[in-house]
Each structure stands twice: as C-alpha cells, then as structure tokens.
C-alpha cells in the first residue's frame, strides 16, 4: 500500500515542475487560488501521477478537492 507521504512527495515534485518558482507547495495550499494551477495543468499532472504510481486515477476525484492535502487523501483512497 502506498503511503500518504509517498503520494505527497510525488505530487510536490510534479507541482513544482509545472509551477512558477515563487510558488511553494504546502499541504494546505489551495490548488487554484494559491498555486495557480489551471485546468489543463491539473489534468496533465493527474496523468503523470498515474504513471508514477502505476494506478488509475479517475478525473472524478477532482471536483471534491481544493487543497494539496485533500488531493493526496483522495488519491490514497483511489490507489488503494
């Protein structure tokens, strides 16, 4: 089973690769308002994450999550 920390680490790496350098990812960062993630970046990041975790992550998880922490928890449930 993959841990919260493992998913969080992957997510931070992917986010930092696509965000402006002045954005710092924290668990309570809002994906849109704080990090400025747009819809296309979000979809691409999810696809990259599927490849890293070798898991299927439906887009359906997205409407319910607003922060990095919420996304990691949602992904943990899906990957399990």
């Amino acid at each position: 089973m993959i841990s919260y920390d493992q998913i969080y680490t992957h997510l931070c790496e992917l986010l930092e690769a696509c965000l402006d350098h002045d954005k710092h990812v924290r668990p309570d960062s809002l994906l849109v308002d704080d990090l400025g993630l747009d819809s296309v970046q979000t979809l691409e990041m999810l696809m990259d994450l599927e490849d890293r975790l070798d898991a299927s992550i439906p887009l359906n998880v997205l409407p319910e999550v607003h922060t990095v922490d919420e996304l990691v928890k949602a992904l943990q449930q899906v990957v399990e």
């Binding site: 296309v40 979809l43 999810l46 696809m47 599927e50 898991a55 299927s56 439906p58 887009l59 359906n60």
Partner: protein
C-alpha cells in the same frame, strides 16, 4: 461577494485580449455572400475558418430543400420527438444515415454537441469506465461527466499509452468505452484508428469515434476515418455532426449494435430538447445526398487543402499536422497569434484564433479550415496574406 466572482479569471483573460485592440471572439458578420465570402466590418472577406468543408451552405439543392420544408412543415417542431412526434424528415434522415454507414439504425440529435452528450450520458453509468484521448472535444468531456462514469485520459494519439492504461484497469478494461476523434479540430491530425481498434479488441473495450471533422472528408465514400482506416466493423459507435460537411446544424450516432435504439429512452439530451427543425433536417438530407453522389467535392477539398498547406509550409510556418482540411499555424505567443489573426482580417481573411486553455500543449494557433468551395485564387490570397504579415509588409 458576487455570483460572478468565479468568472474573474475569464474576465482577466478577456481584458488582456481586448487591451490589444482586437476582439477575435466577437466578430460581427455584416452580410454572408457565399459559402466562402462575407462582409466583415464593411470589408469583403474570405471565410477560412468556418469548417464548411464541402462548401454546401449555398448549394441550390440544399437551399431548395430547406425552403420547401419551411413552407410545408413550418419553422420548428416546438418540442421533443418523445412529446411532439417524429416528422417524416427525422425518420428519413435516420434511415438515410443508417443506409450510408451500413448500420441497423441511426439516431439524430439536435446538435453535434448533444450527440456526444446524449450518447455518452446514456451509454456509460457510474460503475463504468471511459478512457478518452486527452485532446477530445469539450462535448466528449461534458458527456462523460454527465454519465458519472469513472473517467480516465490517455496521451493524445498514443496507442501504447492507451494500452498501458487499459492494462492497469485489469478486468474493468473489458467493457470500458474508448473515445477518440477522426480528425482533431485544433491541429487537423488524424487518430491512428487501426491501432486503437486492435487494442480495444484485444482488451474487450468498446470503441467510440467522433467523426465530426472527418465526415465528408476521409474515406472512399466520405464516411470518415473509420472507412479510410478499414475498421468500420471494429468501431462500436460513430458520432457525427451536420454542422460541418453537411452545412446545417445537428448531430447523429450510428452503431453496428442493434440496441442503439434504446439510447433514445435513456438519453436526457435527446428526450428533453426540441427536435431539429424541418428545414434543418431537409437541408442535411440534401447535403448528405450531395456528399454521396458527388465525390468531386471531396477531391476539390483536398486539392485546396494541399494548396494551402504547401503554401504555408513554403513560407516556413510550423503547421499542426500532415495536410488536412484543418491547417493550423503554430505561433510563439498570444501576442504573435493576435497579430496574425488581426493582420489576416485586415487583409480580408477570417480565420480562427485559438489560445490556451482551448488548445493542446498550451499552443497559440491561427487555425484555417479549407472548403471545397474555395477557389484557387482565394487560397492564394490567404497564403499571400500570411506572407505579407510574416515579412512585415
């Protein structure tokens, strides 16, 4: 706090575009002169982004059919086929589409957008999986969302990536719906459909193809990419539109599955909307007949497409795909794209400006679509306009 606050990001982008002095999303058309020309802000302008692939919007047979239908059946149906009945034109159009594709039946929808919405919402449910090409049209994304199915994406036009993602699904891959398009509207590129069909067959997935931009364009008889790739017997659902090659508005689905008719009773976008107007149905039928009987339309379309493609390629533009009726020039920035778009309009050429997030990979595009009705002189005028802007003339 206002209900409109959430639209502020959109407002910001609009302000940035308008600040450049250009409004590419609100161009007033003063008068339409033909399938390929209009008067825009008082200037005679070539229409080079209208998806009017076969140029049939002013075809005399299509116009006569529409006029007669208005006179005989009125201006609208004023309701759903479930409530107001099916006009003879609706039934005839469905019969003619099924005959054209060699399928047991067809369903007609009021728009192409609703065809995807209606089919996907009815076919897929919360326990199903749909796997869509990342560059699929918004109507496909919206249809899948309406269905409630688990939604996964695969990398655009990448059969190996599709296969890998279906593998991850395990047993759920069997019965999944894979969604692709024939020709992609932004860049004009074609799906590697034979490879996708082989993967779907091996994994037990259904294959759903949107031929909106390929009907009348590809295939020996104009049925689209599935025909051109020789895999019609392996495609489960084909969706198309009347608003491009058939020069009207509306959409349809054909399927080799006898159960297709059940969709009518489960598809809210089919049930809860007014059926296509008699004139629209009549002109679409006439256009389909023209498409079937006159292959020279397709030949002219491809001659014109190659002429424009080679002209722009010769000028050094980076283009989005191999030659196709969608010819998209990839530019370096929004400002450069706006400069080209406005420069073309100033020179009497109206094309499409496409910017992120509507474009794949964050590209800035000036997108042309070619018509069989364009003359060689019009195509050369478009090329010359690009050349003038490039050279700063």
């Amino acid at each position: 706090m206002s209900i409109f606050d959430k639209l502020q990001p959109v407002a910001k982008v609009r302000e940035e575009i308008l600040a450049s002095g250009v409004d590419p999303l609100g161009v007033p058309i003063d008068e339409v002169l033909s399938a390929t020309e209009a008067v825009v802000r008082g200037k005679r302008t070539i229409l080079a982004g209208s998806n009017n692939y076969l140029g049939l919007t002013f075809d005399p047979e299509c116009i006569d059919a529409a006029v007669n239908a208005v006179k005989n059946e009125g201006t609208g149906t004023t309701g759903s086929r479930m409530a107001n009945g099916s006009y003879s034109g609706h039934l005839a159009l469905e019969h003619e589409l099924a005959d054209f594709y060699g399928t047991p039946q067809a369903i007609v929808f009021s728009t192409g957008y609703q065809a995807n919405l209606g089919m996907l919402a009815a076919l897929a449910g919360p326990r199903d999986v749909v796997m869509l090409d990342a560059d699929c049209h918004a109507s496909i994304y919206d249809g899948v969302r309406l269905s409630g199915a688990d939604t996964l994406r695969f990398r655009h036009n990448d059969p190996a990536d599709l296969d890998n993602r279906l593998r991850r699904l395990g047993e759920r891959a069997s019965g999944a719906i894979v969604l692709v398009e024939g020709i992609y509207s932004m860049l004009g590129d074609l799906a590697p459909l034979a490879e996708f069909a082989q993967i779907c067959r091996a994994r037990g997935a259904y294959l759903f193809v949107d031929e909106a931009h390929s009907l009348g364009v590809l295939g020996a008889t104009g049925r689209g990419l599935a025909e051109a790739a020789g895999v019609e017997d392996q495609v489960d659902f084909i969706v198309g539109t009347f608003s491009k090659s058939l020069a009207a508005i509306g959409g349809f689905c054909v399927s080799r599955h006898e159960e297709l008719d059940l969709v009518r009773y489960a598809s809210r976008p089919y049930i809860f909307t007014a059926s296509p107007s008699p004139s629209v149905v009549a002109s679409a039928r006439a256009a389909l007949a023209r498409l079937r009987s006159d292959p020279s339309l397709r030949e002219r379309l491809w001659d014109n497409s190659r002429r424009l493609y080679e002209g722009l390629q010769g000028l050094g533009f980076k283009l989005g795909s191999d030659p196709s009726p969608v010819v998209a020039a990839l530019l370096d920035s929004r400002e450069q794209a706006l400069t080209y778009w406005q420069g073309l309009l100033d020179r009497g050429v109206y094309v499409n400006l496409m910017v992120p997030p509507a474009t794949p990979n964050g590209w800035f595009l000036v997108r042309c679509s070619v018509s069989a009705a364009h003359t060689s002189a019009q195509i050369d005028h478009i090329i010359d306009a690009f050349s003038e802007i490039k050279s700063g003339r």
